[in-house]
């Protein structure tokens, strides 16, 4: 039998003006288990807490109820006070008689009655409380960053600089990501490669950073502080240690028909290739699908020309298993597939391109060596039309409902750069809204309009028609002038919506991190915990969480790093004791609970039990306390009631229900 104390707070007049606090205390003494009840001006004050401590010690209390403000306000305060007095902090329950009672009811009698019922419910619950102890788990002082774009690189650098080992896993043959494909960056027009390359070099040279390129995360198990990850290092067929990066193999490779991923398929590359000149590592890979040696068994030229003897056709995929304390997801984005937007003639004319393709066209290392020209005939365009929001802010299922955020600014950048370099080219931009929040962003856009004479038309484009003369007829509307526009253009650039890298779904499943309807990873709290996943130990960096430009990505990458560092700096983690717990004798081992667990916290073990004399080996659910966050989904999924939630047990909640309904 519990010995309970009930402490009723006046909260000055916040509670006492509407609730007869003395009456609540008096009624509390009638409740089972209650041996002490008192009311006081401010229970949360030093003096109030001292009263609680005194009562706990003097009356040997085994549990307390504080009738006061919301537990969200002072539950922690009273738990600590109880703990200082020698009581287990989980033997404390709060009856919320302020926010849920005194502040919303005017009639004293009515409010007092309700306060008594809330007190009874809390007493009924605490009667069934049991002392809970937070568990401890160890922290592996190593972080994994999935994705080697600017977000991943920045996060890795920040974590490494704090002194922790970091592994970057990058799917493609080189780190660098989308930023490496950009020509210039807004709003300062720096050369993208110029600011990115030093970061790439720094990462590869950092003694605490280990980069796995051409590699993918295969399997994740474990939990915050103690993840175990299998990384598949895909066979490169080039020995990383031997290769000198001379590039002869690529020159001599007879198969040069593969579309270059780096140049968005606008030109071709060899079957053995490094994606771009500044690639890190500067070690090529053999694309087996296009390699003659792999397809026919004949060729082998690269091996012959390689003086370092680095070519290894026999190389196999390798699985590396590593332990991590924290995982940062930085998987970035891609542009959406435009097959549902046939009206823009993207698939019909090579002169209709996406903005990302335009980046490559304008880049000196790109397919046109930086010359602005039509990809169909190589002629210099005179009239360029930009179409905004292609697939963004879309109300039907062809595109995305969200704003891709970066398009307004990069289009202003492209328009400005074109007008600067080719003053005779007319640039027209069709837009729904121009969105330029951000430091120096609106100034930048205004320069494009005012200084560079870019023609902005508020209105949407209904259709782009490829004409027999090779030109493109753009049919649009000017909403401000309320007129239809027909414009002949040499090139059309589509500000294509961005979407999370399609691989993120697979990764989210492995990490039991949640993703939203648009495949962006969900943050633990939209405002207050924007770089943490709801799954402990998983952090979010860059566009995988939502559309961002480079400065925002870098800022978030740093923030994710700080959160990861905060975790890695700990030697042990205290775990929330209000976790699910399975009763071995009732468990069916049916896996229903594991199927609804968002954290992968439930596993199964074959275990011998003694069920009232029957000894047998049974398949039983085991909850990992470090992973379990205490949501309770499993407890309802479990038909036998074997799974229960400590701190919010079935019987506790039922006791509250009964107390309220009695």
């Amino acid at each position: 039998m519990q010995r309970l104390g009930v402490f009723v707070c006046h909260c000055g007049s916040n509670i006492a003006a509407t609730v007869d606090v003395a009456k609540v205390a008096e009624m509390a003494l009638m409740e089972p288990g209650v041996v002490h009840a008192e009311d006081y001006q401010y229970m949360c004050s030093e003096a109030g807490q001292a009263k609680i401590a005194e009562a706990i010690k003097e009356k040997n209390l085994t549990g307390i109820v504080v009738c006061s403000c919301s537990p969200r306000m002072h539950e922690a305060t009273f738990r600590k006070a109880a703990e200082r007095a020698g009581l287990n902090p989980y033997m404390v329950e709060i009856a919320n008689i302020r926010e849920h009672c005194s502040w919303i009811h005017k009639d004293m009698e009515e409010a007092t009655k309700k306060a008594v019922i809330l007190m009874r419910a809390a007493v009924a619950k605490v009667n069934l409380n049991t002392p809970l102890q937070p568990g401890e788990s160890r922290v592996t002082k190593r972080a994994l960053v999935i994705g080697g774009g600017i977000a991943g690189i920045q996060t890795a650098l920040d974590i490494a600089d704090a002194g922790y080992e970091v592994d970057i896993v990058e799917k493609t043959p080189s780190i660098g990501g989308r930023m490496s494909q950009l020509d210039k960056t807004f709003p300062t027009l720096d050369c993208s490669a110029c600011i990115l390359t030093p970061k790439m070099v720094e990462a590869s040279a950092h003694e605490k950073i280990n980069i796995y390129t051409y590699s993918e995360v295969e399997k994740v198990s474990g939990f915050v502080g103690d993840f175990t990850v299998d990384i598949r290092k895909k066979a490169r067929h080039v020995d990383m240690d031997k290769c000198t990066g001379c590039g002869v193999c690529q020159e001599k490779c007879p198969s040069k028909k593969a579309p270059s991923e780096f140049n968005r398929g606008l030109n071709k590359r060899s079957a053995i290739y490094t994606p771009f000149a500044q690639a890190i590592p500067n070690v090529p890979v053999i694309d087996c699908d296009n390699c003659i040696k792999f397809k026919t068994g004949k060729c082998g030229i690269c091996a012959k020309v390689c003086q370092a003897g680095a070519i290894d056709y026999e190389q196999q995929d390798e699985i590396v298993t590593q332990k991590y304390g924290a995982i940062v997801v930085a998987t970035g984005f891609d542009t959406i597939n435009l097959e549902k937007y046939d009206e823009y003639a993207y698939s019909q004319s090579p002169d209709v391109i996406t903005s990302l393709e335009l980046e490559r066209v304008m880049n000196a290392a790109g397919p046109t060596h930086g010359h602005l020209e039509r990809l169909s005939d190589g002629k210099a365009p005179k009239e360029i039309v930009f179409i905004q929001c292609v697939g963004s802010r879309c109300s039907d299922d062809r595109g995305k409902p969200y704003c891709s955020k970066i398009c307004c600014m990069y289009t202003a950048k492209h328009a400005m750069l074109i007008r600067d370099k080719y003053p005779d080219v007319n640039v027209t931009v069709f837009y729904i809204d121009v969105r330029t929040p951000g430091k120096n962003f609106d100034e930048f856009y205004r320069r494009a309009v005012e200084q560079y004479g870019v023609n902005y038309i508020k209105g949407q484009v209904g259709k782009v028609i490829l004409q027999p003369n090779g030109k493109l007829l753009v049919q649009g509307a000017d909403l401000l002038d309320n007129r239809q526009i027909l414009k002949e253009a040499d090139m059309v650039v589509l500000a294509t919506a961005i979407e999370p890298n399609p691989d993120v779904r697979k990764i989210a499943t492995m990490l039991t991190a949640s993703i939203d309807t648009n495949n962006f990873l969900t943050e633990a709290h939209a405002k207050l915990r924007p770089v943490e996943s709801p799954t402990a130990g998983i952090f979010l960096s860059g566009v995988c969480q939502g559309p961002k430009d480079i400065p925002e990505t870098v800022a978030q990458a740093g923030a994710a790093a700080v959160k990861a560092i905060g975790l890695l700096a700990k030697d042990k983690l205290l775990t929330n004791p209000c976790t699910a717990k399975s009763d071995e004798l009732l468990c069916n081992g049916c896996s229903t609970c594991a199927n609804v667990c968002p954290y992968g916290a439930i596993t199964y073990e074959d275990k011998e039990v003694n069920d009232h004399g029957i000894r047998e080996v049974r398949r039983l659910a085991v909850v990992n306390n470090a992973l379990c966050q205490g949501c309770g989904a499993c407890t309802v999924a479990c038909p036998s009631g074997a799974m229960d939630l400590q701190g919010f047990s079935n019987r506790q909640i039922i006791a509250e229900v009964d107390a309220i309904c009695r």
């Binding site: 309807t517 009763d583 004798l585 009732l586 468990c587 069916n588 081992g589 049916c590 896996s591 229903t592 199927n595 609804v596 199964y604 069920d611 047998e616 398949r619 999924a637 038909p639 036998s640 009631g641 074997a642 229960d644 079935n650 019987r651 039922i654």
Partner: protein, 324 residues
């Protein structure tokens, strides 16, 4: 039937299986019981006829714990239950040798008796090999006849089909028996006013004697200890009062098997008071089909059950009452 027995003898003889789980002839024409047969001699009591309604899949939970394989005979509808038990890790597929047996609809002795036929001495036409459409029933009070279809269990009139979902081999032909709409009864109740609905269920459930036959026969109710027998929810009341307990029990039972119930109909078959318990389960099946897409529990062993699954744009609970 002889073919089945011969095959069972073979499998026992060659050591493929250690025992046979089937039905044993009863002492009345209509009461065969589920039984284990350990040797060829015992199989002389084996029977498979229209009264072998019992779903043996649940017995395989215990059989899975025994040494060696058990040969089990499953009717098409029983195999759904077996699959569901595999999915829930309650039976071991490796411990079962499944012979799918044909089915031409199972008989309900209660229906025969409700037709006023009593003093039954023998029944002709219930054998699986009989092609007869009519049962010839010899009683102390004279010879009676009843159409086979009229004596069939409710579940056979809404049969899911005669395809076995899991088996090692098949023996025997089946005959299609579906002649009623699966959801017709549920729809009839849905169309009632709240007062009529309440009266209907009050009437039916007030017959409940809390014997737990429905639960204990149900292959989905396979908990080692039912929540209504444990102290976990303070729900083990057992009282037979005509106000609430039966409703609580039957609603929660239906809820616990929602998305797992294969609609095998055992609950209604075994209810001593003839309560149409399948109406609860079938309501959930209908709701699941309508709200979350068609789902047949036990069709496979992998798919996510409707209640351990969701989509981002599932219907809101407020849809209840708004639907036609």
């Amino acid at each position: 039937m002889q073919e089945i027995i011969n095959r069972a003898k073979e499998l026992l003889a060659d050591g493929t299986v250690a025992r046979v789980l089937g039905w044993k002839a009863g002492d009345l024409p209509y009461n065969p019981e589920p039984a284990y047969f350990e040797n060829a001699e015992a199989l002389s009591d084996f029977v498979y006829n229209g009264f072998c309604g019992a779903n043996l899949s649940k017995y395989m939970i215990e059989a899975s714990k025994l040494e060696g394989k058990t040969l089990v005979f499953l009717k098409p509808c029983d195999t759904y239950s077996f699959n569901q038990l595999i999915k829930e890790h309650r039976v071991d597929r490796e411990k079962a040798y499944i012979i799918g047996v044909g089915c031409k609809g199972k008989l309900d002795i209660e229906k025969i008796k409700k037709a006023g036929i009593k003093g039954i001495e023998s029944i002709e036409g219930a054998e699986i090999s009989d092609a007869a459409e009519t049962l010839k029933i010899q009683t102390i009070y004279g010879e009676k006849e009843m159409a086979y279809a009229d004596a069939m269990l409710e579940r056979c009139h809404v049969c899911k089909g005669k395809e076995h979902q899991v088996y090692d081999e098949l023996i025997g032909e089946s005959k299609e028996t579906k002649d009623a709409e699966l959801f017709a009864e549920v729809e009839r109740i849905e169309a009632m006013s709240p007062e009529e609905k309440f009266a209907f269920f009050q009437n039916e459930l007030s017959k409940c004697i809390r014997c737990n036959a429905c639960r204990n026969a149900c292959p989905a109710c396979n908990c080692r200890k039912c929540v209504f027998d444990s102290t976990k929810f303070d729900s083990a009341q057992k009282a037979n009062v005509d106000t609430f307990e039966e409703k609580m029990f039957h609603i929660i039972r239906a809820f616990h098997v929602a998305g797992r119930c294969t609609d095998c109909g055992e609950c209604s078959r075994v209810c001593p008071q003839g309560i149409p318990l399948h109406l609860f389960n079938r309501k959930f099946i209908k709701d699941i089909d309508e709200l979350y897409g068609e789902y047949q529990a036990g069709e496979d062993t992998e798919s996510k059950a409707p209640l351990t699954n969701f989509t981002f744009d599932d219907a809101e609970p407020s849809i209840v009452g708004k639907r036609g």
